[in-house]
């Protein structure tokens, strides 16, 4: 019989009451998702690790001020995006990720096969090439556009949720996505279906 996991709100209340273990639970619960968010914005595993530690530290320090006006999920995403953007503003150099860090599951993904073969099975599936191009094109986007693309395209968040996280209107989210996609189309032309 499975034990029911306590909801986020309860863990937040317990943390606010001084239960550090409840916050540990929140770290375990949120770190994979927030890792993805920060990583796709910084394009560096090393920076993501440090930044994520800082994000959880900041959240822990300010959790007493969390009044529950938004969900804890939205609150954490807002902290993460803001800290990632501040970090990127300070970081002048643009890093690229190490190419051996990809889950092998990508090789079986139909979208990956489609993108790399163009319907021609004889063409060699080149994971490195696609990954390099994807990262380069992401890094060419502005920080704000990259945040929206990360949350919508990579993490699959709905427009309304992104609007809450970034404290902007849904219209602005859609507009940023439109311009970001147009920019990405130019960079990724060779992988887009013809």
């Amino acid at each position: 019989m499975e034990t029911l996991e306590p909801p986020d709100d309860e863990l937040v209340r317990r943390t606010q009451a001084g239960d550090a273990r409840a916050f540990d639970e929140l770290v375990v619960r949120f770190s994979p998702r927030l890792y993805g968010l920060v990583y796709h914005m910084t394009a560096s595993h090393e920076d993501t690790n440090d930044l994520l530690q800082d994000i959880f530290s900041k959240a822990y320090r300010s959790i007493k001020g969390f009044q529950g006006k938004s969900s804890f999920y939205t609150w954490m995403h807002t902290i993460s995006v803001n800290m990632a953007i501040n970090f990127l503003k300070k970081r002048n150099r643009k890093k690229t990720m190490s190419l051996d860090d990809v889950d092998n599951g990508i090789l079986n993904d139909p979208d990956f096969i489609e993108a790399t073969s163009h319907g021609d099975p004889s063409r060699e599936v080149n994971l490195g090439e696609l990954q390099k191009k994807l990262n380069e094109s992401m890094l060419k986007l502005s920080h704000d556009h990259r945040a929206v693309v990360t949350m919508f395209d990579i993490q699959g968040m709905p427009h309304a949720e992104i609007a809450k996280v970034l404290k902007i209107s849904e219209g602005t989210v859609r507009s940023r996505l439109f311009y970001a996609h147009r920019q990405l189309q130019n960079y990724l032309q060779e992988f887009i279906n013809k």
Binding site: D24, V27, V28, S31, P32, Y35, G36, Y39, H40, H45, N49, L52, Q53, F56, S57, Y60, Q67, M97, D101, V102, D103, G105, I106, D109, D111, F112, E114, A115, L130, Q131, L134, M138, V149, D153, I154, Q155, G156, H181, L184, Q185, L188, F191, I192, N193
Partner: protein, 134 residues
Amino acid sequence: MDNEDSITKLLRLKRYEQPSEEYFQSFLAEFQTRQRSEVIHRPLLQIAWDRFSSMFAMPPVPKLVMASSFAAAVFAAVFVLNWADDGTSNATFATASGTAKWDSKARSAQGQKSPAVQYVLPARPVSYASARSF
């Protein structure tokens, strides 16, 4: 629109760029270690400030309660001030008909030491000279 979909499909492939599960297991341990070291290496000034601010820390109170208590405090302050004022200048509340009564009371209370303060203008002008009109 097809291009939009293709871009989204391509970008979704980036979801595979995740570290292994062991990483997330060790992440928590690293977080706890960092937190402990933060507590140990916190500057004295920050510790002092935290203690100072916690002395004045207020529990979260809803805005409505805050507003109504503020209004009650203001009302109480006005009431107390008026009540204290009554001993010396209760003529404030005098009506035109009761002016003389209040004045005599005030004079007797003050033992004729100083002329009574007149708050209500008399019906007749101070000068008895007839008003001229041009």
